[in-house]
């Protein structure tokens, strides 16, 4: 889970933990690379607009790297046009903020099948 907003990171962590998933949060996007190396996740949920790092760039990096291209990516954003924008980058799903936690859970389930 990548978001520069700590509260949101924690929220999503809590939601997914309650569903029985293993979640690791990254509230500093710059450290993202390190965390990935350590423990390759099956799904990355990332915010689109973060200070310093753009979720799209992150997506491109992950998908562009042969080692990590298999990882599923879900983009999150409050931005209204974000759906279109993220489609172009190659994300696997999109979640608009604010969201229904049922929606989040369903999407995560689907992506991790």
């Amino acid at each position: 889970m990548v978001d520069d907003n700590r509260d949101i990171c924690e929220l999503i962590e809590n939601i997914l933990l309650a569903e029985g998933y293993n979640v690791e949060s990254c509230c500093n996007p710059l450290e993202f690379g390190k965390i990935i190396e350590g423990n390759k996740p099956k799904l990355i949920i990332t915010d689109m607009l973060m200070s310093g790092v753009d979720g799209r760039t992150l997506t491109k990096e992950v998908k562009g790297n042969p080692e990590t291209e298999g990882i599923k990516i879900m983009m999150m954003s409050a931005h209204p046009d974000a759906v279109k924008i993220s489609e172009n980058v190659g994300v696997d799903d999109f979640l608009s903020k604010p969201f229904e936690i049922d929606d989040l859970v369903k999407k995560v389930e689907k992506l991790l099948k």
Binding site: I8, N14, I15, A18, A78, H79, P80, P98
Partner: protein
């Protein structure tokens, strides 16, 4: 003429007979079977123009050899058949006064038998009727001439018996009345065809007059058998008997429909001409082309020269009296020309008696006189004072206009109907750093337009030029420091009476600062939207988590509180969304993601969602269509529309407990209506509610929550879908909102 001839004359005494025979007014002769003339009377001699000595005792055919061929077979026949020969209008060629003529007789040749039945004599009774024949043939000729005359002049004839009212008429009369030419019409029928008004006022009166004076004359309308209206002219003469009573009337009748119509048309065109003359305020006059004398001045003529039509008159010297001295030579020149060519034209100033000065224009044409009298010049005069002043004013006002345009800090330009620029003001040149010629030459203005806007600029400008509709466009112009600034350009066409463009007048206003501010505002709103949504996401997330984890709790208060918080969070989200939308609508950037979907499904789902959130009202849905209704639209936005209408319906009817939703198809559109039974609206509010920021208020200035931008957004969404939204409402009764979307077509 039938003669009753006594078959036996033997009963009469000889000399009595002789006497008788000599005094009867017809020729009588007795001839033997061998054609020897026994006895003739004087009359007979007169007819044949012979003397007694020449004839009596002689063979008839010796005296009249030329008659042998014709007469001998007749006599022989009489001898054999014993029947008399009656030949009326019998012609015999005879020599009279040395000339062989056709002489016409009424003959009776009668065989006379003696007591024993033997043939004794031929008795002949003759009367010459050459004159009568002549008269008869003259009558025939006259009749024929009359017939020809009446046929060629399309004149019908009639002969009316004034006692019995039987009428004999020519075939053409039947045709006038619309019947076949062989049909015979009764006098009463003819009367019936006359137009009622004319029959009473014209014809019957003329008839009465005719019986007294002998002359019958009238013009009247009739409706013929086929229903056509015609005009006829009738003339007749009454014949009186010896006692002075009218017994017969003879007359003619003509179809004068065309003539009458022409008369009416002529009158009308005269009237029109006069009206036209009045309307153009032309004065009229006539002029003798040789002596240059003027006469026949129309009232308008006097008016132009400042004379009172009712009390004053003018004479031929009118021009000399009033012409402005500077124009005397011009006038003389024009008059000279008029003498030569027959055309008169000049403009001049005249000075009226009260010293006012006017401009007039004179036109004159040589008219050939219709009846051979000498030709004259028909002239018109027009007061062109205003016109002349106007011309002067125009050039003055043009100067003022240029001055104004140059002192304005706006860019001002003028274009031709085809779109090329012919004028830019000083500010334009100062701003762009270009010179006038560069600008005007070959669409030089496009050069300073930012490349991103150039194409659209030219396209829209050409479209305006073609459609003659005003031009609006926001674009960037490069200034002399090579920086681009935003301008709002507007151009309006100046049209002439026929609707063609005389010229384009355009201005461009510097809106760069405004544009920058707007961008800042929009950027701010986008950011605010993002910033606001972040905490909202967190709140919502945790509330939902809590509900999940503690939702089954016995603590009712907890559960209800959580539900309340979630509802409010959703409302907050919606409000934030509206805020963002409105800024995007204004900058024209509201994106639509259209696809085909079932409107029915969307409506039912949305209603379900609302029902779950708001339990205060019962939402009834009725589908008035037999099948599914599909549209091609942005599903989320249409959901937004329906949500907005439903929440409004609930919001604005707090005292009611139901909302009705209907869906149907109207022509090419799908229509959904949402009806509430709440506070309703006044008639004048109905259009205002779609305005941005407008909010309806209830009694006691109670206000209802919301930014007042919902309907503004809804209208924009529908317009962008080529749909419509409208409302019916009555104060304190309720409102019914309708929206329509085009049906999806394969």
């Amino acid at each position: 003429m039938q003669e009753n001839f006594p078959l036996s004359i033997s009963g009469l005494k000889g000399d009595v007979l002789e006497n008788l025979l000599n005094h009867i007014p017809f020729g009588f002769s007795l001839m033997t079977g061998d054609y020897l003339v026994e006895s003739v009377n004087d009359f007979w001699l007169q007819i044949v123009q012979k003397t007694r000595e020449e004839v009596v005792g002689k063979n008839l055919f010796e005296v009249f050899p030329e008659t042998k061929e014709q007469l001998s077979p007749i006599f022989e026949n009489i001898k054999t058949t014993g029947k008399q020969f009656y030949a009326p209008e019998y012609s015999i060629k005879m020599i009279r006064n040395g000339i062989l003529q056709d002489v016409f007789f009424n003959f009776v040749y009668h065989p006379i038998y003696d007591e024993d039945g033997n043939f004794q004599y031929f008795a002949t009774v003759v009367i010459e009727i050459t004159d009568l024949i002549g008269v008869k043939s003259k009558i025939k000729e006259a009749e024929e001439r009359l017939r020809l005359a009446t046929e060629s002049t399309q004149t019908a004839t009639w002969d009316l018996n004034l006692k019995t009212f039987e009428v004999v008429h020519s075939p053409y009369l039947a045709e006038i009345f619309g019947y076949d030419k062989d049909e015979k019409i009764l006098h009463a029928t003819m009367r019936e065809h006359l137009v009622e008004e004319d029959r009473k006022n014209v014809v019957e009166k003329a008839f009465e007059k005719a019986l007294k004076t002998g002359i019958y004359q009238y013009e009247s309308r009739l409706i013929d058998k086929k229903g056509a209206e015609k005009w006829i002219a009738t003339q007749g003469k009454v014949f009186f008997d010896e006692s002075g009573n009218p017994y017969r009337m003879l007359g003619v009748m003509r179809d004068i429909t065309e003539k009458k119509n022409n008369e009416i048309l002529l009158q009308q065109s005269h009237h029109q001409l006069n009206t036209a003359m009045d309307a153009t305020k032309l004065g009229r006059f006539d002029m003798d082309p040789e002596t240059l004398e003027k006469f026949n001045f129309s009232p308008r003529f006097l008016e132009i020269f400042g004379y009172d039509v009712n009390t004053e008159t003018i004479d031929s010297k009118i021009f000399e009296k009033h012409i402005h001295h500077k124009f005397i030579p011009i006038r003389l020149e024009a008059l000279k020309k008029a003498k030569e060519t027959g055309d008169l034209y000049y403009q001049t100033k005249i000075v009226l008696r009260d010293k006012t000065v006017k401009w007039i224009e004179i036109y004159g044409r040589l008219m050939p006189s219709p009846d051979g009298r000498k030709s004259y010049i028909s002239g018109t005069i027009r007061d062109i004072t205003e016109h002349k002043d106007f011309e002067k004013n125009i050039s003055e006002s043009e100067k003022k206009y240029r001055f104004l345009a140059d002192s304005m800090p706006q860019i001002v330009w003028i274009g031709e109907p085809d779109g090329t620029l012919t004028y830019v003001n000083k500010e334009t040149l100062d701003y762009s750093g270009k010179n006038y010629n560069d600008f005007i030459a070959e669409n030089g203005w496009t050069e300073i337009v930012h490349p991103d806007e150039q194409e659209e600029n030219i396209r829209l400008w050409m479209r305006s030029v073609k459609t003659k509709k005003p031009f609006f466009f926001e674009h960037r112009f490069r200034n002399k420091e090579n920086e681009y600034r935003w301008f709002m350009s507007r151009a309006y066409p100046e049209l002439d009476e026929n609707g063609n463009v005389k010229k384009w007048v355009g201005t461009s206003t510097d809106i760069d600062d405004m544009k920058k501010q707007e961008k800042q505002k929009n950027d701010f709103i986008k950011m605010a939207n993002h910033e606001l949504k972040t905490p909202v996401t967190t709140i919502k997330g945790y509330v939902q988590l809590l509900k999940k984890m503690r939702g089954e709790s016995d603590d009712k208060f907890l559960v209800n509180s959580l539900n309340t918080i979630e509802k409010q969070v959703n409302k907050l989200t919606a409000l934030i969304g509206d805020l963002l939308d409105i800024s995007r609508i204004e900058s024209g950037k509201l994106p639509l993601n259209k696809k085909e979907f079932s409107l029915l499904e969307l409506v039912t789902e949305t209603i379900e969602d609302i029902k779950a959130a708001e339990q205060s009202h019962q939402i009834n849905f009725e589908l008035k269509h037999t099948s599914d209704i599909e549209v091609f639209a942005d599903k989320e936005r249409i959901t937004q529309v329906l949500n907005n209408l439903l929440t409004n319906a609930i919001k604005y009817s707090p005292q009611s407990d139901k909302v009705n939703v209907e869906m149907y198809v109207d022509g090419e559109s799908a229509v959904v209506s949402v009806q509430d039974f709440g506070i309703g609206m006044e008639h004048d509010e109905l259009t205002k509610i779609f305005e941005r920021f407008y909010r309806v208020s209830g009694d006691d200035e109670e206000t209802y929550p919301g930014f007042g931008i919902g309907l503004f957004i809804v209208q924009d969404i529908l317009e962008r879908h080529d749909g419509k939204i409208w409302v019916e409402s009555k104060k304190n009764v309720g409102s019914k909102f309708y929206f329509a979307l085009p049906l999806y077509k394969d």
